[in-house]
Subunit: 217 residues, 2 copies
């Protein structure tokens, strides 16, 4: 039985629905690491309520000053525009974010007597982010096997899917994509210019599905 | 150059002094995981001020409710008495605490442009705590090698020392043991009954050194 690390973004919302369809979505954890906005939380809450999954919040927002200058947690660092190939996207790296998130998710899974932590790592994750690389995730999985009296499994069911595949899977599971948030900015509508907006657009195009979220100018 | 995970307890205070003597104590991080008391923090602040090491605090106290019932972070769970062999000491296990602490320490080390995280794991650590076992720490070390663009080293310089050896080393480095705190309870003087008090007493006896902290009744 699994705890899902759930951001309220596109990928993890499809993961939540996928595990719920298998009867394995026991709990979800939303991690506040000092993001600039809380649009993703609103989406996470909506989807968990819809599926009857309890959503806990791990509030790490106090830690933001420790993480240094980056565009996701430091309000003085601008959100870069353009795709992930560009060097300026390095400012969106929150140091060691995934290790911290998985560590706390595993702690919560242990407290809830669950045996698995699932997250939505996928084949399109960028080498730009050291903590999205498969070798890193494999090493994390080894740690979780040993972190308690019984092994905790680290599941990455989307590891062989790209983002277009995830959109297709989400559509087949009846995901309401208007209740998923990707944009790094927190305006009423997605900006359409940041790396995650561009990536989301490509994913919907690849899947041949219309994104219900309106684009900004 | 190293960041030290620093609790203000006996072992990590000796580690701080040891790395400072080598000119490698660049930063220290005290982690508030919702401990019942802050006596250790007072000791940590004293020693860092003395040695001129900047001490940051990572405040995880918000997370305590996620960690479930345990004697260290849940005020409704009593602190057990007796030594670590006893099964009731399991209530002092904070789930996956060391992984969360090392993850956040590594994030801070990256933000400070350091290349190493050091902590005071030692040969006397108890198999009672899954996250003190050497295989677990080895796996954590592999994760840290991969968590950033450059490897972060996980140092455990005391891994072959027992607690008596650590007291001897501390004495040779001029550590003021009255400014180290071990007891799980936060009274004026150590209780003398909890597992960590009993262990501290044995360590000083083994080293043939008098503990300057007065014992409770």
């Amino acid at each position: 039985m699994a705890l899902i690390v759930y951001s309220g973004g596109l990928d993890s919302t499809v993961l939540l629905h996928s595990l719920a369809a298998q009867g394995r979505a026991d709990a979800a954890l939303w991690i506040d690491y000092g993001q600039r906005h809380k649009k993703e939380y609103e989406c996470a809450k909506f989807n968990c309520d819809k599926l009857g999954v309890k959503l806990d919040v791990a509030d790490l927002s106090n830690l933001a000053p420790l993480f240094g200058a980056n565009a996701l947690t430091d309000k003085n660092t601008p959100v870069p525009e353009g795709d992930y190939a560009e060097d300026n996207m390095k400012t969106t790296v929150v140091p060691n974010r995934n290790m911290a998130m998985i560590a706390i998710a595993a702690a919560r899974a242990i407290a809830l007597n669950l045996d698995s932590v699932a997250y939505a790592a996928h084949a399109g994750d960028h080498a730009l982010y050291p903590d999205c690389r498969p070798a890193f995730a494999d090493a994390l999985g080894e740690v979780l096997k040993l972190c308690h009296y019984r092994p905790i499994k680290l599941e990455r069911p989307f590891i062989n899917l790209d983002k277009g595949d995830i959109v297709k899977l989400g559509a087949s599971l009846g995901v309401d994509f208007s209740k998923t948030w990707s944009c790094y900015n927190g305006a009423t509508a997605p900006c359409g210019k940041c790396g995650t907006c561009l990536e989301r657009r490509k994913a919907f195009e690849a899947a041949g599905i219309k994104d219900p979220l309106a684009w900004g100018a």
